[in-house]
């Protein structure tokens, strides 16, 4: 099992609150990703990073932001949560930069509910 962690696992919060979802990996992976997934549905890439100080927007437009100050840490922030942000957020990492796409290791996810 991969060493990638997400906190909190579950979060229920009111509209307008600022939240940060944490993701950490201890594998030294360069690439990290954030996906949004509604129950039973496909994965949507919302942010990714090639390494420290690198962040890119994914395929799905998102009002969230990310940062990558340390290799092992890739937090996602929502400045003002809305009910439309209710979803599961999955963090993933993979090993190599500059080569063919590598296996992605997923964290357990954060289930966010915005009331």
């Amino acid at each position: 099992e991969a060493d990638i962690y997400q906190t909190p696992r579950y979060l229920v919060i009111g509209t307008g609150k600022k939240i940060t979802l944490e993701c950490s990996q201890t594998m030294g992976h360069d690439k990290m990703y954030w996906y949004q997934q509604d129950p039973g549905m496909e994965l949507h890439l919302i942010h990714y990073s090639y390494g420290v100080n690198s962040t890119e927007k994914g395929d799905l437009s998102s009002e969230s932001t990310v940062s990558r100050i340390r290799t092992e840490h890739f937090p996602l922030t929502l400045e003002s949560a809305r009910p439309s942000h209710t979803s599961q957020y999955l963090c993933a990492s993979s090993e190599r930069v500059g080569g063919p796409t590598d296996t992605q290791y997923f964290g357990p996810g954060t289930r966010l509910t915005v009331l």
Binding site: K31, Y33, G40, M41, E42, L43, L45, Y48, Y50, E56, G58, D59, L90, A92, V97, G98, G99, P100, T101, T103, Q104, Y105, F106, G107, P108, G109
Partner: protein, 110 residues
Amino acid sequence: GQQVMQIPQYQHVQEGEDFTTYCNSSTTLSNIQWYKQRPGGHPVFLIQLVKSGEVKKQKRLTFQFGEAKKNSSLHITATQTTDVGTYFCAGPFNDYKLSFGAGTTVTVRA
């Protein structure tokens, strides 16, 4: 937009039966990966196929990569309740990102 298509979206299987799920790409892929997500869980890597026509087996699961490297299949024999979940295929598209299919959600009737 989605560049990897999976069919069927749902697969209801009688325990003990076989089934196949298919993955198709709009372009040639350098490799294809398969992941499994159990209900309430997160995707877990199953296998990667790289070579044209490659076939790999994991117990009752058989994975195949098409000759043109634009399609793939997952065949499960003698389905068990432990096979329940959503199976995703994924292929690399640009900038070393993976494009995931919509998944095939499998339910098993005992």
